[in-house]
Subunit: 199 residues, 2 copies
């Protein structure tokens, strides 16, 4: 950020009075431009024992498989965002069930919110951001070709819970791809294992 | 948003190719400036049967009581943000337990994430954003002087669950203060009642 989005004057990075962190501050119109983490909302769409995945037609991770998910938009709820993403990426109509996983990715300033969902019909086809869409039973999941650690963790936890016969909320942190970070599972709630890098 | 924060040229609001929503687009450096919802992270800090509340020294809702909560910062996890807010607003050191409530406020482009937490000691005092801080047993909660619907809902659900002897995740939507919106509880998860306006 170099210029004030309100008045166009140059901004400076400094700690405003009463604050503790550096912010982009405009010395002309005095606006403080805060930058905050973004939410990525998505779902695990189920049809009988199979899960809908989309093969990405965009970077990052072009050609790799993902759960339908994307940045939450202004004016929608988290569940509405997850529904919208399924529609956009796979023309999939889903009924959103419970919140299933929250992943913190502090190195990317992102929080993933993944819901369980039911696919309402099989009229699915790739949206503009997908090369193909398909349904996978657990043995057929392309584990080596999944796009993101969040997708891998969501699916791994999901199939584990399904075997146990009980789904529950999972909250965890996902480390940066450098391997410098470590998983920091939260007290009292099942943390995500994050041995594999997220990109 | 009037000017590009990257190059300072005027921006225009239009739908970029391949997109579905209007964005602030710079015709000079071609950056698209996305705007997304923000997360508010907070906690319900417990000491024995009492809950820590803070009386706000800032607007909005100056003088009203709130749970410690605020905008999540870049580079932190949701739990870290909730801990930081307790420290900033009440000098309170807390251990974060489970995620307890997620409230969508689509009219404000906000998502609240409220954790249960344990106050670690009684060395609490008002931070710069608080007039006073205090511990309240259920009968003493200042229900008529709570700052936000999210605080009211969090406390109401919390005490209900405590009576039942089981805490569980609550997910719900909170309607705008005009009363035009309605509560939209989610399928499969306990929705927040939102009969009272949020400000």
């Amino acid at each position: 950020m170099n210029y004030c989005s309100n008045c166009g004057a140059p901004v400076r990075l400094r700690i405003p009075p009463g604050d503790t962190l550096p912010r982009h501050v405009c010395d002309n119109c005095h606006l403080i431009h805060y930058q905050n983490p973004k939410m990525v909302v998505g779902c695990i769409p189920r049809w009988e024992d199979r899960i809908l995945l989309c093969r990405r037609a965009i970077n990052p991770r072009y050609g790799f498989w993902t759960l339908p998910a994307g940045f939450m938009e202004n004016g929608e709820t988290t569940a509405e965002g997850a529904m919208r993403e399924a529609l956009e990426e796979a023309h999939a109509r889903v009924a959103i069930d419970e919140l299933y996983a929250l992943f913190n990715l502090p190195h990317l300033n992102q929080v993933y919110l993944i819901f369980r969902a039911q696919l309402l019909d099989l009229d699915i086809m790739p949206g503009s951001e997908s090369l193909e869409v398909d349904l996978f039973a657990e043995p057929d999941i392309p584990w080596q070709n999944l796009a993101f650690a969040t997708v891998r963790e969501s699916l791994r936890l999901y199939f584990d819970d399904r075997r146990r016969g009980q789904y529950r909320l999972h909250v965890g942190d996902i480390a940066p791809p450098t391997g410098l970070g470590r998983a920091r599972p939260m007290t009292g709630q099942v943390g995500a294992r994050s041995g594999e890098p997220h990109r």
